[in-house]
Subunit: 144 residues, 2 copies
DNA sequence: TTTATTTCGGATATTTTTATCCTATTTATA
DNA sequence: TATAAATAGGATAAAAATATCCGAAATAAA
């Protein structure tokens, strides 16, 4: 469904959020350990998230990645996905047609629309806060 | 969502079905032209579909690919997807965790389940017949 | 039986995604 | 100001997905 990069990105954001609640910045090393991902690759993804202003980075000594404590509830899964995988998952044709819309639909256009709208809704309605709190409470996990 | 291979596979099956209604076998060349895909790569995908018994191939002169006219309504999108992309789209964890279930869920487990179940239902309830008839009637298209 | 046609399948090439490495730049503190 | 600790980002490598090529095997018809 999502790229590896996107999977890492989502998990990284959750871990960053948890630490930001406690005013702690985290490094790619800590993040990679916590979400079980390759460190350097994860760092690249973090850069992309910073460029898209999903998270924040502070360079130099005592720096690291963080996210405004008060913004966590406003950050949606959709923003993370869009920053990393783009919006093809929303707009692209299910069968890869260049042009695919109501007037010139691919064979699965309508049926796909239902599923994709549901996915879109889910991503847009799921906040980082919600996901972070579930990890903190032990209701869900970032790695096996 | 799906791999390129799977996209080609679905479109190929639809085109084969249309021709099979008229007792006509088709070649990878014809298929690739009709669905706008690389011919040799498409041929590989057709082989996989044959191996998984989704479609049928007849070798030698006057051969080609076909599907039993009476089976077309029983062939579901899910079979095609499974033959090419496997069933990871059904069973795999949305965030790539090795182990992800009710007892040890990833952060998006429940929310993903809803979307994926919807996708699964859609794939299992959509028949090749339905898709082929819509192409024949001009209600949908295999290429741009 | 020979020939033409067609799928099968192995080998290889290209492109994209994933992953690693190393240096430059930034910045807080001593 | 010097130093140590961080992120930024370019270059490169490895793996996976996509794509191409070609000869082998099968088969219908002449």
């Amino acid at each position: 469904m999502f790229s590896k990069a996107c999977e890492y990105g989502i998990k990284a954001c959750i871990f960053i959020a948890i630490n930001s609640y406690e005013g702690k910045r985290v490094s790619p090393k800590e993040i990679a350990e916590e979400i079980n991902s390759p460190q350097a690759f994860t760092a690249k993804i973090l850069q992309a998230l910073v460029r898209h202003k999903v998270i924040n980075s502070i360079k130099g000594a005592y720096g690291g990645f963080e996210v405004s404590k008060y913004e966590i509830k406003n950050i949606k899964l959709s923003q993370i996905v869009k920053a990393i995988d783009g919006d093809n998952i929303y707009n692209g044709c299910g069968l890869g047609l260049e042009k695919c819309d109501e007037n010139h639909p691919c064979p699965v256009h309508d049926k796909f629309k239902v599923v994709r709208d549901e996915l879109k809704l889910m991503l847009e309605n799921t906040s980082l806060e919600e996901l972070a709190l579930n990890i903190k409470s032990g209701a869900s996990f970032l790695k096996t």
